[in-house]
Subunit: 252 residues, 2 copies
């Protein structure tokens, strides 16, 4: 027998025959569900869990990744793992901006403008706005936070013909309000695309998450009564920060 190739350190699989990381995942999940680990709490460090449970660090991390995928914990880079706060509910049929509905849910929103530029419309974008390729567009990027935690990065395109001098406005508040009060632009119809995605460079960096973290992409096209596109918006959300809720009547 080639006993030399056996790994004498290998512990047996648990009796229930489930992988160790699922057992650990469910133990930690239980502690979160019962409130023993409250939202915002920091989990024990990986090395601490390692010595408590006598398993390798890789296995510990696998359990943590699972909880992260479920949206129950998140990481602050090189600081630790934390229990996720509750997700906010987002209803795209209501024309209330981020600032409004976050406050309505008892949370504290914040917005930071990252950039406001004039860019030339690419083919796809030009088609959406009904403009010629290369036509100028406002491109606004912002980061929005809830209770101090960044939850989304958005890139908004606006037709400067409808909103001249947008760059001179204070864009750290509600764009909705600016568009309606300063420019008389009110959306009457929204077209929304939504799909799970991975947050990658540079969005991941801006949100302070690891590249590849699961996220949700919401693309919103807002139309005015005359059919012009008022806003074309890409929102990259942390997947644990949002629940989408829509109430709608059925078309044929």
């Amino acid at each position: 027998m080639p006993a030399a190739t056996l790994d004498p350190m290998r512990p047996p699989r648990p009796d229930d025959d489930r992988p160790h990381y699922l057992t650990l995942r469910d133990q930690l999940g239980e502690a979160i569900a019962t409130g023993r680990l409250a939202p915002g709490t920091r989990l024990p460090s990986e090395r601490q869990l390692q010595s408590e449970t006598a398993t390798a660090r890789g296995t510990i991390r696998e359990a943590l990744f699972q909880l992260e995928a479920e949206g129950r914990i998140y990481r602050r880079d090189r600081s630790g793992w934390y229990v996720s706060p509750a997700a906010v509910t987002y209803d795209p049929t209501r024309w209330a901006g981020f600032m409004t509905y976050v406050v309505e849910q008892g949370r504290t929103p914040a917005t930071q403008t990252l950039s406001i530029d004039s860019v030339a419309a690419a083919a796809a974008t030009a088609g959406i706005f009904g403009l010629a390729i290369g036509a100028p567009l406002h491109e606004l990027t912002r980061r929005r936070s809830i209770d101090g935690r960044p939850v989304l990065v958005e890139r908004i395109m606006v037709d400067p013909a409808l909103a001249p001098d947008l760059a001179t406005q204070d864009l750290d508040g509600s764009l909705t309000h600016i568009l309606s009060r300063h420019y008389g632009l009110a959306a009457v119809r929204n077209h929304i695309d939504m799909r799970p995605c991975a947050l990658t460079t540079p969005v991941a960096g801006t949100l302070g998450v690891k590249s590849g973290t699961p996220g949700l992409l919401i693309v919103r096209t807002s139309f005015a009564a005359n059919g012009r596109v008022v806003e074309y918006d890409h929102e990259y959300w942390r997947h644990d920060a949002i629940k989408v809720q829509v109430d709608l009547t059925i078309r044929a």
Copy 2:
């Protein structure tokens, strides 16, 4: 110098200072984007990639996990990694069932009924149907596939007062049609909740994916004109199989 603790095998970080797994991820991603690896194609095995790139298997796997999180590849357990097919578009405002809109997009849908039972309504469910706790409900679970790949598991609750003998129907087709043709039940309003989730036991097992795989949960409550709940449905989707699209008018 404690040279004995140095790892002589450790290769240098690449010049661009990005982790190796991101480099590999982007190389594979490029091959997928350009069509060199077409949807449905199997990727080289992990050990093959390992020897091609001279990196450890764990690093290879990290790159694959990233592409999986982006929805660009998926795994068939112990068979290999495959390039994901295109996602189907789902428009909850259209009262067309799964079978219909999948066909409209040139794909082949299939449905398997997993179970049909009568269960006692729990508190939350009873509230939704406006029934007493413990009242009987039909509970239907099904698995649905596109082009032979399972993409979602759903659990549907139906009030037996509105649809008696539902269990005797052929449930492998469109429930929508059965409800409207046999029972005269047509939904006029949908309430929809949507959020990224992780697919865990037992859903993961039914879809043949690893527990913890990212997914999308859609909860749909359908109301008839008289306000009664026609259907209360939980759909657990593979996250790479669906794009949600909604077109809606703005409420105040």
